[in-house]
Every structure is written in C-alpha cells, then in structure tokens.
Amino acid sequence: MIRFEHVGFAYTKERGKILDDLSFTIEKGESVGIIGPNGAGKSTLLKLMVGLIFPQEGSIMIDSESVGKKNLAKIRQKIGYVFQDSDTQLFMPTVEADIGFGPKNYGLSTEEVKKRVEEALIKTGTQDLRSLSVLELSGGQKKLVSLATVLSLEPEVLLFDEPTIALDPKNRRRFIELFRELSGTKIIVTHDLDLILDTCSRTILLDEGKIVCDDETEKILYDQKLLEENGLELPLMIEGVKRRIDYENSVH
C-alpha cells in the first residue's frame, strides 16, 4: 500500500511548490496510470515514493513505514524504479553485469544472481545483448535493459517512468504483456494514453502539481473535455474509432 497524505514538495524556494497537497492511496496489487502534461510533477511524484527526495509537507507511507532517511534501505528493497532517462540508470560495463548489480548487492548467492539475470533477460527479450557494453545499445534496447535491471530485483512495487518511450511496436506489445504478467503493485507514468488504457484500471490526472482527477481509467481517458482542459488529448485508439464512426456516418 502506498499512501500520500497532504504531500507538498518544492525543489527550491524560488521555483515554489511543484507538488501541492497531494493525498491518495494505492492499494496492494493495483495498477495505476499517472498522466499529465510536461512538467506536471509526475516524475517528481515517483522520486518521492522511493525517497530520492523528501516532502517538505505531509507524509508518505509505504505499507506501515513512513518514507524517511532511516528506513530507506527497507523501502528501496520493496520498490523498483525504472527511470525516465535510461542513460543514467545503466552504469556497469556489460548488460549482464548491470542486471546482476542489484541482486548481488542484496547478498544473493552466485547461482541465484545468475538465475535472476537469466529470467530478466528472457522476460525483456534481451538475451542477445547480454555481453554488450551498455554504451553500444540503441535507445530502445537501453530501455529494455533498464527494465531488466529492475525486474531482477523482484520488487513488490514497480514504478515505471515512460516505459514505452523509444520502444518499437513489437517491444511495446511485449512490455504490455510483461506488465500484465507481473504481480504486485504497478504504477506507470506516461504520455502514451493507449498504454494506460491497455494496462491500468485506475488513472490519476495530475496538472500543475495537483490531482485533477483520480478515477477509473475509462472515465478519464474517454472524457475529451477533461483531457483537453488539462493539456492532453484523447488516446489515439479512441480518436481512431471516432474518425471511423464519422466516416461511416458520412458514407451512409
């Protein structure tokens, strides 16, 4: 369970509050999409959950622990976070080493680490990349490998920041399938509204650091007016269906 209670956050005093009085609860096992225009504070929200930054106001609870400097290790072991920018997520010399970095740190045996790496490679379809240098990968491949580095930790909660950016259609579909197979709590931040439609039952719409709407995905994503008021557009799929209907009406 993840609970935000009246959370307020500012990077600097001059810039002012990036997030303001946020309250919501995400239950264990839920899949939640977080959407909103550029600069709405979505990535900031995720960083708060793993304790990379701390709120100036309010509190954040992960299960029964309040996120703070003291219990970071415990909280981070529970949560996997796939960065928006995969360039900085990867730092080991080879793909394999990078995927094994986390499990090794948590003191798993050599065989167990190997097993975890193998599974993560298979799940993300990156077996052929295993011995490549991270710097030899394409943008999409980096994204898949970042995903693998987090999957190998087998966390209870998974946070994805723009997981499908840079992925080709096939890999995007692979991600969706993978996402559905994963158990645990999952949160996706993305501009790919179709992805949310495909994977999340609940959506939180964020704008200028405030929750505009927190509801069933369909209710939000089918609401053209609501989306446009907040700098977003209908998912392409819906847009397509609408055009099709218009077309058929005009023909008949």
């Binding site: 981070r76 976070y81 960065f83 080493a97 240098s133």
Partner: protein
Amino acid sequence: MDKWTEARRSLQMMETSGEESLYRKIHPLAKFLTTILFLVLVTSCARDHLDVVLAMGVWLYAYALIGGLSAGQCFRKMWGLFALLFFVGIANPILDRVPALTVGHVVISRGMIAFVSLFLKGALALLSAYFLAVTTGMNGILSALLKLKVPVLLINVIYLIYRYLGLMIQEASDVWTAYRLRAPGQKGIHFSVWGSLVGSMMIRSMDKAEKVYQSMELRGYKPEETFAGEEKWNKESTVYLLICVPSLCLFRFLPVFSLIGSIFTGR
C-alpha cells in the same frame, strides 16, 4: 574502433580480474599489500642507485613471469603515461652533465643515470599497479581498502568515479560529435569555444553522476555490502605473502647484483 570506444574498452580491463593468472585465487588484501610494499620500496630508491631499481625490475619481471602476466598489454594500453614519464625525466641528462662513469669510451653522466632510474621507477610503479588491477579487479581492490578501514566516503568516491568514467567518455564523445556537426570542416575544437564546451560538459557530468549514484543506491549499493567480498583467506594467500614480502625486501636491501656478480667472478 574510434578512440572513444577504445578508451572505454581499456577501462573495462579492470572489471574482470586477470585473464588466466595464477594470482587470481589470491585474496585481494594480500595482493594489495604486496603492491603497496612494492610501490614504497621502488619509489624510495635513491635516484643514483640504478642497480637497486634494476633489481626491483627483475623481481617484478619474475613476478609477471610466474603469474603469467603480460607487460606488453600494459605498454600498449598506457603508452601515453610512459611517454609522460619520459618527458618528465628528460631534463636530468640535459641539466646534469657531471660524468659518473665511463663504459669503454662512452662517458655516462650523472643526469643520464638519474633519468634512466627515474623512468624505470615510474614504469615499474605503473606496471605493478596494472598487475594489481588485472589480477584483482576494482571490486577486489575496494574490498581490500574496506578491510584496511579506509573511510567509506572515500571508497564511494573512488567507485563512483570509476563507474562514471565510462559514461563521461561517452559524454565527451557526444559533445565532440555535436560540435563537429555544427562546425564542419574545422580541425579540432576552436580555442574560443573550449571554455564553454568544457563547462557545459562538466555540468552535464555532475548532473548525470548524481543520477547514476541514485540508480546505484536504488539497487541496494552499500559499500559495506557491495564490497564485502566473497573471497576467503586461503592457504595460497599465506604462501603468496610469505614468498613475496621477504623476496621483495631481499631484492631491495641486499646488493643482489653485486652478490650474483661475485658468485661468477669468485671475488
């Protein structure tokens, strides 16, 4: 392979410890201490005692030979450093021309001897560090440092720099490409933009370094655990120390060359 890729590759050599060296099974701490001892003994040689420096060279040569290590690799990868050593020492024979000895008709100056011994000392130090790196790997070295109670903060810094160096090379390469694309037909980077280029690269690097560190932390990086080291102290390590330390001292403090010479000449 372009120069950037090559630089990165060389960096990776420290990742996996020594290809097929006999010293692989030796505990990192034993190798680390031996290397430190070697460095201290070599750098403390007086500059006009070329024979002692040579004796240390013989020791290192034997060490490499027994362990199946190749010095050639090191020369190829770090020739720039060796060249630097050369230029640092070259002033000696120019400035100090007092004759020291004559071999046949050739007069050898004190400066010449100082130059050769300085160069050798530097080269030996580089080589021994290189051997430590390839037989132990970065993780091993850091675990040795941790056992020696080096502050965790320092270990963090070393590890982050090491981890980050590869990305920094990439960054430099990207900046270089971006520059070239917008300044076609120029050779090198024009001096007027050096400042801003380097500046922007530094800022980008700092920002990235912070994120890389976050990524490490999020995946459970904790020096005390990451470098806890699976290696246990074994018999081989004791034997290794028992051979290396006394033989090193022997080569350093006994006039090995004169002794060998006297055996042959019987004097």
